[in-house]
Structure formats: structure tokens, C-alpha cells
């Protein structure tokens, strides 16, 4: 069951085309990732979905009420002059059926800072507060615009674990991010964006299998010429760069192909061996380069 359907959205500001016929849907209880490089149109798409910008074409269908949609902007959007609790209290007061302040503070691990002025929080906790003030009421869809940008690895994990936790209920999440590992780890489905268009959409596995490239075995061998001969004889595409020999194994051959290739490698004295799997970052690179 879908919570959101985006249908052929196009957005132009002046003469610049920000979005070009973008379509995707978000299902209930899933985390949907929007990936793309800077300027690919992720934030414009989010703002168009939220009605902060009006697209020229297309339609956006929410299968919930406006009050059931939460938005966490990229920048801190709370009152830095207020305390943490005051901020949560204010935004909570604007909602119908809000959660209790204590619950919100606990949920976002802000209880110990509740008296602290928001301006004095660290960057990571500011980000958590930013999320907290968006989630002071029951939501069915939460939209996060780069929630982990400029965060260290620990804070990123903390934020994403919070996202994962809140998404466990009856809530869908759309998040935009640059980080492949986050997407691979947390997103059920993703859409890859480049130049305002959605180039690919689906599960991570689907996208990787389609665009993530072949398995590549990269090795250094003293007797390189013979190794290359043996691999070519077995039907593998091989090429040499200085001392390094790379062998591509088509995705379709899967593990069998890798095992067979490694068997050949094992007959030679190999000083270094590395097996690269098809990946999302390669898929992204391929799609961006293709664009």
C-alpha cells in the first residue's frame, strides 16, 4: 500500500530545469532513500512534495492527511534562543494529539539536555532536536532532507538508528543522503537522481544487479603472463595494468564464476588478491557518468 505517489513532476525555476518528469512511489512502513550528487535535485524534489515549491507539471498524491506528514529540513529549523524543552513544547503546542514532552525527549535521547539552550547543543544533538520538533505528533510519513550531512560516523549511526527506530511503527520515511553505506544499510528502496531526473529506482539489490557492474578480481602475480593465459583460456576477460591483473566476472555467473576464477588464481603464486563485488556506489557512478 502506497503512502505517497509522485507522478511525472517537473519543476523549473527561471530557465533552469530543477526536476524533469520525476516519478516514484513510497510504500507504507518502508524507508525510501533519494540518492544523488550535489545539485541533482533531491532537495527540490523534497520541497516540491511538501508544497514549498510548486511544480509546473505532474501530480503528488498523499494517502494520508497533511498533519500526518513531518518534515525535517536540512538546516536547523527551531529557535536556537530557546531551551530544548521550550522548543519541543512550542512545536508540540501547535499540533493536535501530540506526544508527551518526556516521550519525545527520551525518544531522541535529549532528556539530559532539556534545560540547555538549543544554541549550545553540539551539531549532532541539534540535528536530533531538529528531528524531534518535527516528530512531536503521530506521523505516517517523515521526510528528512540529508539528516546526517556534516556529521561524524558515530553521530550518523546514532541519527540513523533513531530513524530506524521511529520507522518501526506505522510510518514511512523518505530521506535524502549522499552516503551509500546508509542507503544500503537502512533503505528498503531507493531512487538514484542525476540532473533532476530519477535514473533508477528499486531495491538496492535490484539497482546493484542492474547498474552495479561485474565482480572484479584484482591480483598481483609474479608469473602474470601465464596467469593471464590461463584465465583467458578459461574464458574470463582479463587485462593487465603494470603488475596488477584484473579479471571481470559477469554478474550473471555469480559465485560459481568467482570460485572457478579463484581456482585458477590458486595455481599461481599470488602476492595480493582482492575481490570487488558490484556495488551501489559503482551503480551511482555508472548512472552519473552515463548522464
Amino acid at each position: 500500500m502506497n503512502i505517497l505517489e509522485v507522478d511525472q513532476i517537473s519543476l523549473k525555476t527561471g530557465k533552469i530545469k530543477r526536476l524533469d518528469r520525476c516519478s516514484f512511489d513510497v510504500k507504507s512502513n518502508e524507508i525510501f532513500g533519494l540518492m544523488g550528487q550535489n545539485g541533482s535535485g533531491k532537495s527540490s524534489l523534497i520541497r516540491s512534495i511538501l508544497g514549498l515549491q510548486t511544480p509546473q507539471q505532474g501530480e503528488i498524491r498523499f494517502f494520508c492527511q497533511r498533519s500526518e506528514v513531518g518534515y525535517v529540513p536540512q538546516h536547523y529549523s527551531f529557535y536556537e534562543e530557546y531551551s530544548v524543552e521550550r522548543n519541543i513544547r512550542f512545536f508540540r503546542n501547535l499540533c493536535d494529539n501530540p506526544y508527551s514532552i518526556t516521550k519525545i525527549l527520551d525518544e531522541f535521547e535529549l532528556s539530559e539536555f532539556k534545560e540547555m539552550k538549543a544554541a549550545h547543543l553540539s551539531g549532532g544533538y541539534k540535528r536530533l532536536l531538529n528531528m524531534a520538533v518535527s516528530m512531536v505528533r503521530p506521523l505516517r510519513l517523515l521526510i528528512l532532507d540529508e539528516p546526517t550531512a556534516n556529521m561524524d560516523i558515530f553521530m550518523r549511526r546514532k541519527i540513523m538508528s533513531v530513524v530506524e527506530r521511529v520507522a518501526e511503527g506505522d510510518m514511512s520515511v523518505i530521506l535524502t543522503t549522499h552516503f551509500v553505506d546508509e542507503t544500503e544499510s537502512y533503505c528498503d528502496r531507493i531512487a538514484l537522481m542525476a540532473s533532476g531526473r530519477i535514473r533508477a529506482a528499486g531495491t538496492v539489490r535490484e539497482i546493484v544487479s542492474q547498474y552495479g557492474g561485474d565482480y572484479v578480481i584484482d591480483a598481483t602475480c609474479e608469473d602474470g603472463e601465464r596467469l593471464m593465459g590461463a584465465l583467458k583460456k578459461a574464458g574470463y576477460e582479463t587485462h593487465k595494468e603494470r603488475h596488477s591483473i584484473s579479471t571481470s566476472i559477469p554478474h550473471a555467473m555469480g559465485n560459481t564464476g568467482i570460485v572457478e576464477a579463484l581456482r585458477i588464481y590458486s595455481k599461481f603464486e599470488v602476492s595480493r588478491l582482492n575481490v570487488q563485488e558490484p556495488s551501489l556506489s559503482r551503480a551511482m557512478q555508472v548512472l552519473v557518468e552515463h548522464d
Binding site: I9, L50, G51, G58, I60, S67, Y71, P73, Y82, F90
Partner: protein
């Protein structure tokens, strides 16, 4: 409603969390009031030197009691003006009951307080900022003067009684004047009848005819001169042709004939010589024939009957006779040739050439004579034409004079008619005046019989701003409004920019609830602006006592509350359009400074172009200032300024409503989600 309240309280909380606001709210009003208060509390500076010319001594007496200015009395309006021109006083009042200042009074706008007095404020244009202050003082002075007038009613009654006594002789004078007017009317009628316009008209017509005649004559003369020129040209042309024909053609022909004659003559001489030669030869042949005859005769004699000789003798005889005949013909031809008279022929040819030459001379002489006569005729015609021209010009000049005389005469007749009509009306009126005089006498008698206590003095407030020398009071509404306008325009922009910067605006837009957000925020901003305004009010009262807590204070506070509204709403609307504080400051200055300059306070309206004056008086700052000044200064009779207050309040409320409406419109237009469908149902 609750949401609006939350937004309202949050706006206040957010504003107070800003450090700069504490300065703006508390320190700034205090500093301004302190500086301006000290500046205007100087007792020396409080006394203004004012020149006055008044036809109402009571008014001058009233005004001289006031502490705010020192009056310099002068004897005429001109002197009052001269005082200002010489720089002795910054301004003069000219108060007349009627006369040339009537038109100027209207622009001063004070006559409404007392329709019987016409007041002009003569002002040094370089010191125009004081004019509003002078007007305020004058307003109050007039109102207080009315009180004195009411209490001086006994004096008026005595004067009225005196007038009543003077009325019967006036009635008699009116009769005398009427008789006099009647006689003058008759005289004028007589003068009018003596002016004969028809005769002047006929003279003009006669001159017109003569002028026309001379014009025709001049034209004909000019035409004749042209014809004479043409004739002279023709004579000259034909004369030259005739002369050429005679002197050249004929002479050439005759000379050719003469040469032919000479040739013939020479040929005849040649033929004569040849004929003589032939004659001589014939004579020789004849003599030789005669000799031959003799020989033949001798031969016959020797040979008689010889036939050959006889035949020869016969033929020789025949030849001899033919020779004689030929000689005879030759002689005859000689004589005929000699008979031709070439001399006579040459003489005749010479005569012919002489005759031709003579004819050419005659033609030349005739031509010269004709041209001389034509030139003479032309000269005479030119003289005649000039004389005719001069006469015609003279006639035209005389005609113009006559036309002028005609117009003057006609105007004189018209004026006589008008004067007669006026005299007729005056005569008619004189009867009415006499009736009115009788009626006035009755009224005055009735008036003088009433006791002074029966008159109710005008209702005025016991609060007199004139009695105070606190100049801050006069400048307070302007000072207050400057701060209200500046702060109201800028503060919403600053606050909204801060909210925009920290992303709260985006969050609010995403959440919807437009009305509660806009209304809550506006009320919050309005409260803070009011707070600052009230602090001005309180500081000014506590520090310099500008407010005496009279019943009008409620009206003053209400007016402040209303006046703040449009400016805050304008600032709120601008904050929707401007997202950066720097641009907001710039736009505020661009808006604020012209409003202040066009408010009529710094640059008075009476010196402005009428259209700009109207525009200036209808702009928010002017309307707000007007209603504030009304609340602070003109509370003496609120009922006489109800319309001012109603207009001012309505203007402020409408302006605020309009700005808020457009703010909401702008907000909505940026969050239109017409591409978005909320609450859709999953298709089965």
C-alpha cells in the same frame, strides 16, 4: 484560536530573546525622550517672537497672555509681512475681518474655527517647520477668545444700542442717496442718446468705398505701367528689326547692283573697243575690196566680156555691199552700246541707298521719341500711384480711428446701461434697506433688552496647551509617529528574516495553518510596537510631564493603538517580500523618508503643489499624524473633530486590513499545493 495564541506568545518570547530588542524597547525611547526633552525644555527657546496685525483687539489681548510667544504688534498687514522679510520675527499673524487676505486665509485652513475672522500666517519660508506649531497655537487662541467674547456681551449690547440710535438718520440718508441716484440715471440716459453710432458707421462705410476706389486706381495704374513697359520693349525690338532690314539688307542689295553696273560699264568699254577694232578691219576689207574691183575692172577692160571676170566683179560687189551693211550694223551697235547711261544708273542706285539710310534714321528718331514719351508717361503714373497709395493709407488710418471711436461709444452706451441697471437696483434696494433698517432697529432693541446671563458661553475644555511652555508637547506626536513608523516597518522584517534564516518559516509553511500563524505573529509584533510606543508615552510623561492625565488620555491611547496598526501591517507585508535584513533596512528608509517629508510637518502643505499636497495628505504618515495631533492638541471640542477621527481610524484600519490580506495572499501563493492531493484513497 489556541494555535494563534501560541504563535502570539511565541512571537513575544522570541522577540524578547533577541538582545537588540531590549535596547530598542527600553533604552532607545528613554534616550530619545531625554535628548529631545532637554532640547525643548529650555525656557529661552520656548518663547517665539511673533508679529501680529489684528483687526480684532480682543484676540491680540488674549494671545498676549500666552507664555509661548512674545507678540510684536504692528499697524498693518504690510508691516506684519515686512517684519518677517526683515527677519525680525520668524512669522506674523494677519487677522482681518475682510479684504485682500480673504483668499489666503483659505489656504491657512483656520477660518473654520471662526468664520468671521480671516487669518493669514505670514511665514519665513526658510523656517517653515514652525507653521504647524503656529497653527495649533492659533486654534487654541481663537477658542479661548470666544470665551472672552461671551463674557463681554454687555459691551456688545451697549454698542448695539448706539447703532440703534444711528439707524433713523441712516434711513433718511438712504432716501437722499436714492434721489441723487435717480438724477444721475437721467443724465446718463441723455448722454447715451447723444452718441450717434449710425453716423459713425456711415462714415466708416464711405471711407471703405473710397479706399476701395483708390485700391482699384492703384491697381490700374500699376497695370498701365506694366503695359507701357511691354510697349517700350516691343518698340525697341521692332525698331531694331526695321533698321537691320533697311541698313543691312537694302544697302547690301544696292551695293550688289552698283557693282553689277560697274562691271557692265567696264564690259561695254571692252565691247566698244572690240567693235572699233572690227570697224577698222571692215574698213580695211572694204578698201581692199575696192582695190580688187579696180583690178577686175582693169581686167575686164583688158578682157572685155570675160565671163569669169564679170562674175568675179559681181561677187566682189556683193561682198562689198555686205561689208558695208555689216559696218553699218557695227556702227549702229556701237552707237546703241554707247547710248547706255551707266552714270545715270549709278546715280539712281546712290539715290536709292541714300533714301534707305534716310528711312532708318527716321525710324530711329521715331523710336527714341516714342520711348521718351512712354518713360514720361510711366513716371507720371508712378507719381499718381504713390499719391493714391498715401491717400488710401490715410483713409485706412482714419477708418481705424473711427472704428475705435465706434467701439468706445458702444462700450460707453453699454456701461451707461449697466450703471443705469445698477442704479435701478440700488434704488430698489434702498427701499429694502430702509425696511431692513427698521427691522434691525427692532432686533437691536430686542437684543439690548436681553440680560448677558441669558447667553451661554461656548463649551471649552479647561485644559489649555497654550498656557504651557513645554515645547516637547508640540513635537511629541511627530516624534512618536516617526518612531512608530520606523520601528513598525523594520521590526517585522528583522524578526521574519531571523525566522527565515533558521528555517522555522519553512517548517510553518509545510505545516499549513496560515491564518493562525499570520495572525499570531502579527499580533505579537503589534504588541511589541505598542509596548515601545507606550514606553515613549510614559517616559515623556514621567520625565517632562507632557501628558496631564485628563479624560482625553483614553482617546490618546486609543489613537496610538489605531495609528500603530497600519505601519505594523505594512512592515509585516514587507517582511513577506523581503528576506534579508539589509534590504529590509534599505526599503524601509526608501519608504519612510518620503512619507515623513510628505507629511506636511517638515515641509508644510501650503507651499506644496496642489496635486502633491493632496497625495501627501492622503499618505499613511500624514493621516496618522493628523489624527495623533487631533488627539493630543485639539481635544478642546472633540465633537468638532469627530469626522477627523472617524476618517483617520477608518483609514488606519482599512490599511492594516489590506496589508494583512496581501500578506496572507503572498503566503498562500507560495504554498499553493494545487499539484498535491491530500488524503487520497488507495485504488482497489
Amino acid at each position: 484560536m489556541i494555535r494563534t495564541l501560541h504563535h502570539y506568545l511565541n512571537e513575544l518570547r522570541f522577540a524578547f530573546s533577541q538582545g537588540f530588542l531590549l535596547y530598542l524597547l527600553f533604552l532607545y525611547p528613554f534616550l530619545v525622550i531625554m535628548v529631545v526633552g532637554i532640547a525643548f525644555q529650555n525656557p529661552q527657546a520656548a518663547v517665539a517672537q511673533i508679529g501680529i496685525y489684528s483687526e480684532d483687539p480682543a484676540l491680540v489681548q488674549t494671545m498676549s497672555q500666552y507664555k509661548n510667544f512674545h507678540l510684536t504688534r504692528v499697524g498693518s498687514a504690510q508691516e506684519a509681512e515686512n517684519l518677517v522679510r526683515r527677519g525680525n520675527v520668524p512669522a506674523s499673524f494677519v487677522v482681518t475681518r475682510c479684504g485682500p487676505y480673504y483668499e489666503r486665509d483659505i489656504s491657512a485652513g483656520i477660518e473654520a474655527c471662526d468664520p468671521q475672522l480671516y487669518i493669514t500666517i505670514v511665514q519665513d519660508p526658510s523656517r517653515t517647520s514652525e507653521i504647524g506649531f503656529l497653527k495649533i497655537i492659533f486654534d487654541a487662541a481663537l477658542m479661548e477668545k470666544m470665551t472672552i467674547s461671551a463674557h463681554n456681551i454687555t459691551l456688545v449690547q451697549e454698542t448695539a444700542a448706539q447703532i440703534s440710535r444711528d439707524l433713523p438718520p441712516m434711513r433718511r440718508n438712504v432716501s437722499l442717496i436714492r434721489d441723487n441716484l435717480q438724477s444721475k440715471e437721467d443724465e446718463l440716459d441723455k448722454i447715451k442718446s447723444e452718441i450717434d453710432l449710425a453716423e459713425i458707421n456711415r462714415s466708416i462705410q464711405g471711407i471703405d468705398n473710397l479706399t476701395e476706389f483708390f485700391s482699384i486706381t492703384i491697381n490700374q495704374s500699376n497695370q498701365t505701367q506694366m503695359e507701357l513697359d511691354s510697349l517700350a520693349l516691343k518698340i525697341e525690338n521692332e525698331n531694331s528689326l526695321a533698321l537691320r532690314d533697311i541698313s543691312e539688307l537694302k544697302n547690301n542689295e544696292l551695293t550688289a547692283i552698283e557693282s553689277q553696273i560697274n562691271i557692265g560699264w567696264r564690259k561695254r568699254e571692252a565691247y566698244e573697243a572690240k567693235l572699233y577694232n572690227y570697224q577698222t578691219k571692215l574698213d580695211g576689207l572694204i578698201s581692199r575690196i575696192s582695190s580688187l574691183q579696180n583690178v577686175l575692172n582693169s581686167a575686164l577692160m583688158y578682157r572685155p566680156g570675160d565671163q569669169n571676170v564679170i562674175l568675179a566683179i559681181n561677187q566682189v560687189n556683193t561682198i562689198q555691199s555686205e561689208l558695208y551693211n555689216t559696218r553699218s550694223d557695227l556702227v549702229s551697235a556701237q552707237s546703241e552700246l554707247g547710248a547706255i547711261d551707266f552714270n545715270a544708273m549709278l546715280a539712281k542706285t546712290g539715290d536709292a541707298k541714300y533714301a534707305a539710310s534716310n528711312t532708318a534714321q527716321k525710324i530711329q528718331a521715331f523710336s527714341d521719341t516714342s520711348l521718351q514719351r512712354i518713360q514720361s508717361a510711366k513716371a507720371q503714373l508712378a507719381v499718381f500711384s504713390d499719391q493714391s497709395q498715401a491717400i488710401r493709407d490715410k483713409l485706412i488710418e482714419n477708418r481705424q480711428r473711427l472704428v475705435g471711436i465706434y467701439d468706445s461709444a458702444e462700450r460707453a452706451q453699454g456701461r451707461i446701461d449697466q450703471i443705469n441697471t445698477e442704479i435701478g437696483e440700488a434704488i430698489d434696494n434702498s427701499y429694502a434697506v430702509q425696511v431692513r433698517l427698521v427691522h434691525s432697529e427692532d432686533l437691536i432693541n430686542a437684543f439690548t433688552s436681553i440680560s448677558p446671563e441669558d447667553f451661554t458661553p461656548p463649551q471649552i475644555s479647561d485644559r489649555s496647551i497654550i498656557q504651557s511652555n513645554n515645547q516637547l508637547l508640540f513635537n511629541f506626536p511627530f516624534l512618536l509617529l516617526i518612531n512608530i513608523a520606523m520601528f513598525s516597518l523594520l521590526f517585522p522584517i528583522v524578526m521574519t528574516s531571523k525566522l527565515g534564516e533558521n528555517g522555522v518559516e519553512d517548517r510553518m509553511r509545510q505545516q499549513g495553518h496560515i491564518v493562525s500563524y499570520l495572525v499570531g505573529r502579527f499580533l505579537g509584533l503589534y504588541t511589541i510596537v505598542i509596548l515601545q510606543t507606550m514606553l515613549f508615552f510614559v517616559f515623556a510623561s514621567l520625565l517632562f510631564g507632557i501628558i496631564n492625565f485628563s479624560p482625553e488620555i483614553m482617546l490618546q491611547i486609543l489613537t496610538i493603538l489605531v495609528v500603530v496598526l497600519p505601519f505594523t501591517a505594512m512592515g509585516f507585508l514587507l517582511s513577506r517580500l523581503i528576506s534579508k535584513v539589509a534590504i529590509g533596512v534599505l526599503v524601509t528608509l526608501l519608504l519612510f523618508i518620503p512619507m515623513v517629508f510628505m507629511s506636511g510637518k517638515l515641509l508644510p502643505f501650503i507651499f506644496m503643489d496642489p496635486i502633491m499636497k493632496t497625495l501627501g495628505s492622503l499618505q499613511p504618515f500624514s493621516v496618522a499624524l493628523n489624527v495623533l495631533e487631533s488627539a493630543f492638541f485639539r481635544c478642546i471640542g472633540f465633537e468638532c473633530q469627530v469626522m477627523d477621527f472617524l476618517f483617520g481610524y477608518a483609514y488606519c484600519l482599512l490599511m492594516a486590513a489590506g496589508c494583512l490580506f496581501f500578506s496572507a495572499l503572498l503566503w498562500t501563493s507560495r504554498t499553493i499545493t494545487w499539484k498535491t492531493r491530500w488524503g487520497c484513497r488507495e485504488k482497489k
